[in-house]
Symmetry: D2
Subunit: 346 residues, 4 copies
C-alpha cells in the first residue's frame, strides 16, 4: 500500500432500480471520505448517464445531513448500460466516461447497484478506472455477498401486507394470493412468506404443481382451517398473458371452488424509508467502500460473508445470480412446520 | 320510553366486506350491554347467515378483551342477503330469521355493515324485529352519516403506499399510477390523494379527459418536475378488460412518451389494526347502539352529523350512497394548489 | 371586497412548540398563494424572532415540494414573545416588527402556532398588521376551533405506545402507567387512553382520588384480570418533585402491592411525519388562510366548527383554553364500558 | 443417536423479561413438534413458576395459529429463580420441578429466556432433566450466540423514536438526549444510535467524559449544526439519584448553555409485534430446538454463529454476557464518519 497515491477526489453514482438505503450508502461513502480522508466527493446524476454526460454535484457534508432516513436516491438513477453496443456497431460511451473521469481528475468511482450495475462496473475497471462496487437490491440476489441492503426493508413492507391480508382472509374464509417481487430469486417471497405465516409459498427456483397447491388448501379446509394465505414470487412459471397471482388464483378457484382473491403488491415494495438494519448495512458498505479506495483496493465489490465485511473481485460478480437453494435451511424448517412449497406431488 | 320493556338479550352480527374497526364496534356494543345494562350478548356467525342458521356464541366480557386493536371480525362475515328471492320464487330465510329471533328470546339485534347491510336491516325492521344498524366501510359512502369507521384506517394505508411511490417516481423520473378502492365513491382516493401529495386525482364522481391528464403531466415536465403521481379510484370510467390503473398508464405512456408504471393497491386497504380514530369512532358507535336499544330507539342507524352522535331511520338509508360532490371543499382547495382532477379540457 | 387592495407579498412563520403538520400548513399557504393568487411568499425564521430580525427566505414553489410529509418545520420555531416587556420597561420589538413589515412591503402575515402564538398575533393585529392565524398543537386545546393539526398524529404515537405496553403488562401481570403530554388539557390522554384500551384514565380537568384508582385495579385483579393499563396526563395533580407517572405508580405499588411500572412518553409525541388526516387538516387551514388574505379577512384565526372551515376573531382566542368537559360524550361512553376516571370515591 | 428413546411429550416455558418474538418461538417449537414429530406439547405458565406448580396447558396446533405476530407471550412469564436458596437454607423447588417433570412424563423441556434463564436451564440439566434453551432478549447480550430475537424489534422501536426527535431538535435547535435500554450491554444503543443518525453515542462498555460530549456539541454548533442528538444507554456511569439521560442533559445544559431536553424511552422498547426478521429468527430457533430434542441433543442452547444454526453447551452460557468490544467494526466506522463516543479527551 506504500505506493498508493493518496486519493483526493472520488465520484459516486447509483444505478438500476431504486431501493431503500441508497441515500444511507451515499452518506456512508461521502461522510467517511470527507471526515476521515479529506477527499472531495462528486455525486453523478442518474446512474451511468451522469458519467457519460459529466453531470454531477459536489457533495459537501451538509448535503449528506438528513438523508439517512430517506427512500430513493438523491442522485437519481437510470438503467443506462454504457457498454451496450449501439445498433450501428459504434459505441462512444465508454470513451466519454474515460474522458470525463480524467478531465475531472477522479481517483476512483463508487458504483452502487445490483447485478447489472456490477457488470458495468467490472467493464469500467477493465478500462482502467479505479472502481469499487456496492451491492443493493430488494431481491437479495447479488452473487458474492450474503446480503444486500434494501432486502430487509422490502421484507418488512411485504410482511406488513401479508399481515393485513390475514384478517380479511379469516373474516371471509377465503384464499388470499399475494404476489411478491422477484423475477429470478425467491428470497423476498421466502422471507416475507415465513414472517407473514403463509401456508403455501411458491418460488421461482422450485418447480411447483397446481395440484399440490390445491390439495394443501383442501386439506386445510378439511382440518377446519377455512382460509389460506398463498405467497407467490412474480417469477414463478405462469402464462405470459396474466400475472402469477392471477394464474394461481384462477386455478385454485376452478379446482377447489373456494373463494379466492389476489393482490399484486408492486412498486410499494421498493419505496420509503429504510429499516434500521438496512440503514446500518448501507452505512457499513458505504464507509467500507471509501476505506477500500483509501487502501487502493480497486476492481472490487464490498460484501458481507458470515457477518464480516470483505471484498470480492468485480469480474467474478457480474452476470451471476445468488438463488435460493432447494434445500435451504429455512425451507427445511418451514416444511417441518407444515408450510407447502407446492411440490408435494411432483 | 316508559313502556319500553327492559331489553335482556341482544344479538350482534357483522356483514359485508370486512374493515378495520369491526371488533372495536363489537366490543363497544358488548361491553356497554354487559357493564352498564346487564344484558346478555349473542354474537352471530358470518353475517346474516348466522341469523338464518342460528349459529352464535355467547359473548362474555372476557371474550371482548384484547380485540380492540384487531383487524377483521371475530364473528366472521358474509355477503348473504336473506331477502334476495330464490330462483323459484320461494324464500324461507326471513321466516327462519324471525323464528330464531323469537326462539332465542332476543330483544334486539345490532347489524354492523355498509349500504347493503343497512338495506337488509331495514327490511328486518319492517318484519318486526328490533334492529339498530352501525355503519362501517372503508369507502365512507353510507348515506345518512358524515363518516364510517374503516375509512381513516384505509386512508392511512393508501397514503403510506403513495408515500412509498414518491421515492421511486422521483429517483426514476417516472409517472406512477396508483389505483385505490372505490367503485362508486371517490372519498378514499380523494383523501389519500391529497394526503399523499398526488398531482392528479381521478374520482368516479367526476368526468375526466385523458387529454387533461396528459397535459398536466407534460406541463409538470416542462416546469422541471419530471415525475408525477396519479391517484385513480377503481371506479373511474375505463374499459372492462383492464384495470383503471392500466388504462390510464397505457394512455399516458402512449401520448406523452414518459415512462409510466402502475400499482393496484388491492385488498391490503381493508386489513390490519384500526387507527386510533377508527377505534374511537367504532367504540362510540357500538356503545351508542346499545344505548339506543336500552332506550327503545329501534329501526335506526347510528350516525355522526357535525361531530354529534345521532340516529337516522334505517328505511331512509338503504339503497342510497353518499358521493363526493364536484364542488367539495377539498376539491376546491386542491385545485387552488395546482392539483388536477383531469377535467380541465372537458 | 371591492376596495381590498390585491395582496402581492405575504409572510409566514411558525412559533411555539413544533408538531406534525407544520410543513403541510406552510405548503398549503404557499402553494395557494403562488398558484392561485400569484403572491410572493416570505418564510420568516424561528417564529417571531424572524419578524424582529428580518431574517427570511423567499419560498418558491420548488421549496414547497416534498415537505408535505416532513415533521418539524422548515422555517424553524422559537418561543419568542415580542410583546413581553423587558426588565427595564423598554420594548422595541413591536416597533422592529412593524418596521420590517413595512420595509419588506408585506400585505399580510400568517402566524402558525398555539395559544401563545395566537395572543401575539392578536396584539400584532392591534398594531395594524394584517394577520391571519392558524391553530396547531398536539394538545388540541386552542380555543375557538374544534380541532388543531398535530393532535391526530400525537394520538397515534401515544396509542401505539400504549399498545406496546399491553403485551408486557399481560405477560408479566403488572400494572403499567403511561404519562401522556397535556399540562392543562387532557384531550391527548383521553383519546389515546380510549384508543389504547386503558383501564384507568386520569385527566387534568377531572379531580381524582388515589383510592378510586387502587380500588379499580384491585377489583380487576379479583375479576381475574391481573393486569391494568393506567393512562395519566402530565398535568394531573401530583407532587412537584416527581413525575405524575411516578406519583401514581408509587401509590399503586404501596397500596395494592401489585407490581407496577411507569413510562413517561415525552418528546416523541411531537415528532415525525404527520398522519394523513393531519396533513389534510393542515393543508385546508393553510389554503384557507391564504384565501382569507385574498379576501381581506384579517385579524382572524382559521378554525373548524362542525366540520366546516370558518374564522374567529383573534382577540377572542388569545389566553383561553379549550378543555375537556367532565361530562364529555367520550367520558360518558367510557364509563359505561367500565373505564375508570379515578373519581369514583370523591 | 441409535439409543435415543423417541420423545413423545415435551414442555415449553418463557422466563425473564418479555420481548417480541416469544410467541413466534413457542409456535416454532410447537408446530415442528406436532407436525413433524407427532409429539405432545405442554405450555407451562409464567416461566419456571409453572414447572414448580405444575400449571400448564396442552398446546394443540390450533392454539399456535395466529400467534406469530403477537407481542408478549401466551404462556406468561416471571422472574422466578428456582435454585435461589431460601433464607432458611431450604429449597424444595428443584425437587418439585423434578417430580412434576417425572409425573407428567416429560421427555424434554424447552426454556426460552435470557442469561438468567439459561443459567437455571443449565442447573436443571445438571439435575438430570433433558433441557434445550432458546436465547431471547432485546439486549442481544446472551453469550454464545451472535444474535437473540427481540433485538431487531427493539432496534426498530428505538430508531423510530430517535427519528421523531430529529424533527423537534432541528425545529427548536436543541440538544435532545434519548435513553435506551441496556444495563450492561450497549448493543441496542449502538445500533439504534447509528440507524437514527445520533451524533454522540454513550455505551456502558466505553468510558466517557462529559467534556468530550460537550466539546462535540459545541463544535457542531460552531459548524452551523445547531442541534445534536445524544443516544445514551441506561447503564452508563451516572449518579444513582437520577436517570442516565437526566445526568447527561443537566451536564450539557450547564456547560454549554445550549437548550437540552431528555427522553427515557422505557418499556415500549419491549412490546408490540415482532419485526419480520425477529419472527423468522424465533421460528428458526424454535423449530431447531425441537429438532435437537428429536436428536437427543440436550443440555444445549440453540445459537446462531456466522449465520448458521448450531448449539452451545448450556453450562458454558450461564452467567456470562456478550458485550460490545471497544474496537467493534461499527464503532470504528462510526468514528470515521464523525460520530463521537464521548471518549475523545480521556
Amino acid at each position: 500500500m506504500n505506493d498508493v497515491v493518496k486519493p483526493k477526489r472520488i465520484g459516486i453514482l447509483t444505478a438500476g432500480g431504486d431501493c431503500p438505503g441508497l441515500n444511507a450508502a451515499i452518506r456512508g461513502v461521502g461522510k467517511t471520505a470527507i471526515v476521515e480522508y479529506g477527499m472531495e466527493v462528486l455525486g453523478f446524476h442518474a446512474g451511468y448517464s451522469g458519467l457519460i454526460s459529466g453531470k454531477y454535484n459536489v457533495l459537501k457534508e451538509s448535503a449528506l445531513s438528513g438523508i439517512l432516513t430517506l427512500g430513493g436516491t438523491i442522485l437519481g438513477t437510470s438503467r443506462e448500460k454504457p457498454f451496450k453496443m449501439a445498433k450501428n456497431g459504434d459505441n462512444l460511451k465508454p470513451e466519454k466516461i474515460k474522458k470525463n473521469y480524467a478531465k475531472l481528475g477522479l481517483d476512483a468511482v463508487v458504483c452502487i447497484g445490483g447485478n447489472g450495475t456490477m457488470k458495468t462496473a467490472s467493464l469500467l475497471a477493465q478500462e482502467g478506472l479505479n472502481v469499487v462496487g456496492i451491492p443493493k437490491t430488494i431481491d437479495n440476489d447479488v452473487w458474492g455477498t450474503d446480503v444486500t441492503f434494501g432486502f430487509d426493508s422490502a421484507v418488512q413492507i411485504a410482511t406488513d401486507a401479508i399481515d393485513r391480508l390475514h384478517t380479511t382472509a379469516n373474516s371471509h374464509q377465503r384464499v388470499m394470493i399475494i404476489e411478491i417481487m422477484g423475477h429470478h430469486a425467491g428470497w423476498l417471497a421466502l422471507y416475507s412468506g415465513l414472517a407473514g405465516g403463509g401456508d403455501i409459498i411458491l418460488l421461482p427456483e422450485l418447480e411447483y404443481n397446481i395440484r399440490s397447491v390445491c390439495k394443501k388448501i383442501e386439506s386445510r379446509y378439511e382440518d377446519n382451517k377455512p382460509y389460506s394465505i398463498v405467497v407467490v414470487a412474480e417469477g414463478i412459471e405462469h402464462p405470459k398473458d396474466k400475472s402469477a397471482a392471477s394464474h394461481i388464483a384462477e386455478a385454485i378457484q376452478t379446482y377447489t371452488g373456494i373463494e379466492t382473491r389476489e393482490t399484486v403488491l408492486g412498486y410499494i415494495q421498493r419505496g420509503g424509508s429504510p429499516t434500521p438494519m438496512d440503514r446500518i448495512l448501507a452505512t457499513r458498505y458505504g464507509s467500507f467502500a471509501t476505506q477500500c479506495i483509501a487502501e487502493g483496493n480497486f476492481g472490487t465489490m464490498v460484501a458481507i460473508k458470515d457477518n464480516e465485511l470483505t471484498t470480492v473481485p468485480l469480474e467474478e460478480v457480474g452476470g451471476k445470480l445468488r438463488l435460493v437453494e432447494s434445500d435451504h435451511g429455512l425451507i427445511q424448517k418451514a416444511r417441518k412446520m407444515g408450510v407447502s412449497f407446492g411440490d408435494e406431488f411432483l
